[in-house]
């Protein structure tokens, strides 16, 4: 026990004496949360569009005005030639063409049908889908107005039989930031914990001090605990700091129990730091550690469901996520913070992560040979 305290004492002196450490601890969360939460959003605004109005009638102008009034669309340019509009899309200045052929108004008034064409750049499928949905809803709105207008002329009106009412739970205003912030927090604590731990251990290898440790009577597990604990503290501090920023700046809801969140985070961090340690026991330079940790982090984070729900991933990817600790925490932090889930809702993830932590740390201790 005493030995571990001596190691911890030494580690904390070294951490706080390191001049780059305090900026990392305080600046990283501020920058990540303030920048990424705003930037990493799926809400679409300002879709650039080109209008090809070949009808130039009052109805076509009314439709264009509807698009103009919508916050989602921004008319880049008006033209009369579809060819020209296409070239604008090709040059990436717009993503969407609204083509109103001549005879649109005539059709609407005389035959009760008017045709228009939407041309959407679908390089990004999600964006194209959303553009379609938004555009269709603008047109549907316009349609309804046309019907109401025609009621005055043609009875009886078409009535809507089923009325759908929406209610968005847990994030009533569908504020994307509230969804993203917990995700960014997960990345933050993982980044800090995993990188700092793995770099720290391999630095002892590079400096040669590990040799001196190896000839001393320090036991493997004492050394590994001495290396884990300081960064566990720092990462948990980061989580607290990030939550404070989230509350003050974004007013995120903290519905669930914070002690439960921190308990879960601690178990999660044991896994993340354990992976960091494992990487560093297998590497001999800081470069190697950086490359491997970066690769592991990137895969884990992209698959964790930070942007897209894991449920919509292919089956095999969901299976892979069984060994992805980030996916567990990503889900649970949102459950606790946004939904107020209790221990009974998350116990399965908790138990699995706990087993994972024990396994990965044992592996790290075993792989850390006390051989120079």
């Amino acid at each position: 026990m005493n030995t571990i305290l001596h190691i911890l004492h030494k580690e904390f002196i070294q951490i706080f004496r390191n001049k780059t450490m305090l900026p990392i601890i305080f600046m990283l969360p501020i920058v990540q949360l303030l920048v990424l939460v705003y930037a990493a959003t799926f809400e679409m605004k300002n879709i650039n569009m080109v209008v090809v109005d070949q009808d130039l009638s009052s109805k076509s102008r009314a439709l264009v005005a509807k698009f103009e009034a919508s916050p989602f669309f921004k008319i880049q340019q008006n033209t009369f030639s579809v060819k020209e509009a296409e070239s604008i899309i090709k040059s990436d200045k717009a993503d969407f063409i609204l083509n109103i052929p001549s005879g649109f108004e005539l059709g609407v008034l005389k035959e009760n049908t008017g045709n228009i064409q939407l041309l959407i750049n679908a390089i990004n499928g999600t964006t194209a889908g959303l553009t379609n949905v938004y555009a269709t809803s603008v047109i549907a709105d316009f349609n309804r107005e046309l019907i109401i207008e025609s009621i005055n002329i043609l009875p009886p009106a078409i009535q809507q039989v089923i009325n759908v009412e929406y209610s968005f739970w847990y994030n009533a205003r569908m504020n994307y930031k509230i969804y993203m912030l917990p995700g960014i927090l997960v990345i933050l604590v993982t980044l800090i914990g995993m990188f700092l731990t793995s770099l720290n251990l391999v630095r002892e290898k590079e400096m040669g001090t590990i040799e001196q440790i190896n000839v001393s009577p320090i036991k493997k597990y004492q050394f590994i605990i001495g290396k884990l604990f300081p960064f566990l503290c720092i990462a948990l501090f980061e989580l607290a700091f990030g939550l404070i920023i989230g509350k003050l700046v974004f007013n995120i809801p903290l519905v669930g129990s914070l002690p439960l969140l921190f308990l879960f985070a601690a178990v999660y961090l044991l896994v993340a730091l354990g992976i960091g340690l494992l990487v560093s026991t297998l590497s001999s330079t800081q470069q190697q550690v950086m490359f491997v940790s970066f690769f592991v982090m990137l895969v884990f984070i992209m698959m964790s469901g930070i942007f897209t729900p894991t449920e919509s991933m292919p089956d095999w990817a969901q299976k892979v996520n069984i060994i992805n600790p980030v996916a567990y925490f990503m889900e649970v932090i949102r459950m606790i913070l946004l939904k107020g889930s209790g221990f009974m809702d998350i116990w399965k993830s908790f138990v699995l992560l706990f087993i994972y932590a024990v396994g990965i740390i044992s592996l790290a201790i075993w792989k850390y040979r006390k051989v120079a």
């Binding site: 005493n2 030995t3 305290l5 001596h6 190691i7 004492h9 030494k10 002196i13 070294q14 004496r17 390191n18 400096m207 040669g208 001090t209 040799e211 001196q212 440790i213 190896n214 000839v215 001393s216 009577p217 320090i218 036991k219 006390k370 051989v371 120079a372």
Partner: protein, 242 residues
């Protein structure tokens, strides 16, 4: 003349796959002597030292260090030895006192013992005024003496020095050897590897290794007589050229 044996090595073999790093080594080291362990690069010195320090398990042979078995009692061995490599192994971002505290602590010294030892060793080096200096800011010669002091801080029975004088100037080397003598006088056995043949002259006994085998083991004086050489340098060249 009866001397207490502190390291006993009989028929030590160490193989890495097909490669034989230590081929049937047998020697004894006596308490309180300065034992020089010489050999060209790649002769197998480091492998042997690692086995003696309990870092590596021998393939075969009977080895006892400070009375403990090198197969089963490596942790007891580690408590009873000190070690200093050419890298010095001090924490560059800690102060002198903090390094003493850490290394003293992991060898199980209590607070009082650490303070006393630190004071005593720094006085000997005349570095009391520098005790709060960060290691990275002090000269190489100081680091080397400090690393040595830390290696003997817990009063080990044996201290292993693996090329301790690499890269330091002749005056500092001289002072360093004075430290080694003092330590040996206190009864701590010194096991030292070196490249400098003038340093070999300071040892009580010297072994010379070539290709994993010990080909000579005697006092420098006897070796010089035996090979009719003026200096250890000549002895070494004569032995290693064949």
């Amino acid at each position: 003349m009866s001397k207490e044996i502190i390291i006993s090595v009989q028929n030590l073999m160490k193989k890495f796959g097909q490669f034989v790093a230590n081929d049937d080594l047998s020697f004894e080291v006596y308490k309180g002597e300065i034992f020089g362990f010489l050999g060209a690069n790649g002769a197998g010195k480091t492998t042997a030292i690692k086995i003696l320090c309990g870092l590596s398990t021998p393939t075969s042979g009977k080895i006892s260090v400070a009375g403990f078995d090198a197969y089963t009692q490596t942790n007891k061995i580690k408590h009873n030895i000190g070690y200093m490599s050419q890298k010095f192994s001090l924490y560059e971002d800690l102060t002198i006192t903090e390094n003493f505290r850490f290394y003293g602590g992991i060898y199980g010294l209590n607070k009082k013992q650490i303070q006393d030892k630190t004071k005593q060793l720094l006085e000997r080096l005349k570095l009391e005024d520098a005790k709060d200096k960060i290691i990275s800011s002090i000269p190489l010669g100081w680091k080397q003496k400090l690393a040595f002091s830390i290696a003997i801080m817990h009063d080990p029975k044996i201290v292993f020095l693996d090329e301790p004088t690499g890269g330091v100037d002749p005056i500092t080397r001289r002072q360093f050897w004075e430290l080694i003598y003092e330590t040996a006088h206190q009864g701590i056995t010194v096991f030292v590897t070196t490249h400098y043949m003038d340093e070999a002259e300071y040892c009580d006994r010297v072994s010379i290794m070539v290709d994993g085998k010990i080909i000579a083991l005697n006092s420098p004086k006897n070796l010089k007589n035996e090979y009719q050489a003026k200096s250890m340098d000549e002895v070494f060249l004569k032995l290693t050229r064949n």
